[in-house]
Amino acid sequence: MSAAPLDSVALRADFPALQQEIHGKPLVYLDNAATTHKPRAVLDALDQFHRRDNSNVHRGVHTLSQRATDSYEGARARIAQFLSVETDEIVFVRGATEGINLVANAFLRPRLQPGDEVLITAMEHHANIVPWQLACEATGAKLRVAPMSQAGELLLDELEALLTPRTKLLALTHISNALGTVNPVAQIAEMAHAHGVPVLVDGAQAVQHLPVDVAKLGVDFYALSGHKLYGPTGIGVLWGRSAHLEEMAPWQGGGDMIRSVTFEKTEFAPPPLRFEAGTPHIAGAIGLGAAVEYLTEIGLKAIAAHERELLAAATDAVAAIDGVRLIGTAAKKASVLSFVVEGVHPHDIGTVLDRNGVAVRTGHHCAQPVMAFYGVPATVRASFGLYNYRAEIEPLCTALREAQELFA
């Protein structure tokens, strides 16, 4: 079944922030891997919660508290459906970073012994490196890194060779934020499980670009950030298999995560509330629920097809400019076009592009090991979302040429 083509120009009307000029030029927003803009559906959901339903959740018998609880738990159910998982496997966190830290602390650390290993890959964001480093340092375990090719594709044979009886977890990204590589997560998870190794996937760059059936991926944990998914900042999701979540002790203690408390002993609530100590980001969760509903209506298949076509066209156009070197040329990519321009530092390109209304990310993208691998201090990264369209490629290329002329 092929999805109906996506009318990105019409959809742009749903995003108030896109209707502005920057330095007198129409905004061309190509920094979607950093964060996405929010559709009216999300802004309205946030507004309605704050203006009408504002209350705390899971307590209080009054009407507003009931409304807030229904909306909060309704968002959880909607997100579970979006990811094709069970509702009580959805833990609300601040973002993918906190989700990964939760697993590092509540799942991995109690299992780590000196000499054990945690396996990550060469293309991880700092968020999927540092939490494991901290866990390793605290326990005497070792961090191992599965290598990638010059194109930015994981070397699967090498990865498999690093899966040993000492390996206690494999953590990898679904889509690389710096390179755009789409990793064959289901295949890798099968490989890891054959060696008895649980798998965490950093999905921060994936769920907004591809239909993701988390249950079918066969992984153990999946973390994502709401603000990269057209939702609010400060909210994200950790999905975990209920068998794991049941076994895990709480990470943070407080209200809302308990069944009963005396000074002698506390009985904890079952998951997911066990991992949601304190008043959660209720508005954020509701906003994320609205974002997921918005994306479901448009259809991830249509979004994926639209962005694939756009990325291919942009890649051709940018690669045709003399002196451009693409960073990340995997066969399967999504959204991200990362590159350097000979003789012009990415930072200077970023400023020239901004003066032309074009917003891109320039820097190391919180992936310094990836930059080191390619021997560059930084790259220019254009990343596309559902509201980008073909006519935005030209201003990007024109501004790149202007930067080249300026620094020639």
């Binding site: 012009v344 530092h345 990415p346 930072h347 200077d348 400023t351 020239v352 003066r355 320039t362 820097g363 190391h364 310094q368 930059m371 201090p377 930084a378 300026l406 620094f407």
Partner: protein, 145 residues
């Protein structure tokens, strides 16, 4: 505010052919500076003689603003003692952040007067200066954070 006010000819020139770029034979002080925002790195060496900057050189990779700033700074600080250097840094910082002396009173360093309209780039312009001060104060490194 046009790009040519930020990227003045003097800045473009010093970016293309940076002065005092390389290493010293016998430095008395050195430090490495980082701009964690963009990953830029800069190593700065200097030789003090009788309390004054006798020689100074830098090396590293950076954007046009940070390279030109290191180049022009190393030209400007030769012969200065620590007090004069601190005073010059204070003036430069004020110029870059927009509450400083008119660019015309700053000699060649006045070329950075356009930075005030690009707040995200101020750290690029001051990286070399922070690194120089770290070297003088005997610190190993500097960061613009």
């Amino acid at each position: 505010m046009s790009l040519s006010e930020l990227y003045q000819e003097l800045i473009l020139d010093h970016n293309r052919s940076p002065r005092n770029c390389g290493a010293l034979e016998a430095p008395t002080h050195s430090a490495t500076g980082h701009n964690p925002l963009c990953g830029d790195q800069l190593t700065l060496e200097l030789r003090l003689a009788e309390g004054r900057v006798a020689e100074v050189a830098f090396d590293g990779s950076g954007c046009a603003i940070s390279t030109a700033s290191a180049s022009l700074m190393t030209d400007a600080v030769k012969g200065l003692d620590e007090g004069e250097l601190e005073a010059l840094f204070a003036k430069f910082h004020a110029l870059a952040t927009g509450d400083g002396p008119p660019a015309g009173e700053m000699g060649k360093l006045g070329a950075f007067g356009g930075i005030r309209d690009y707040p995200t780039r101020v750290k690029c312009a001051t990286l070399a200066w922070h690194t120089l001060r770290a070297a003088l104060h005997g610190k190993q490194g500097a960061t613009t954070e």
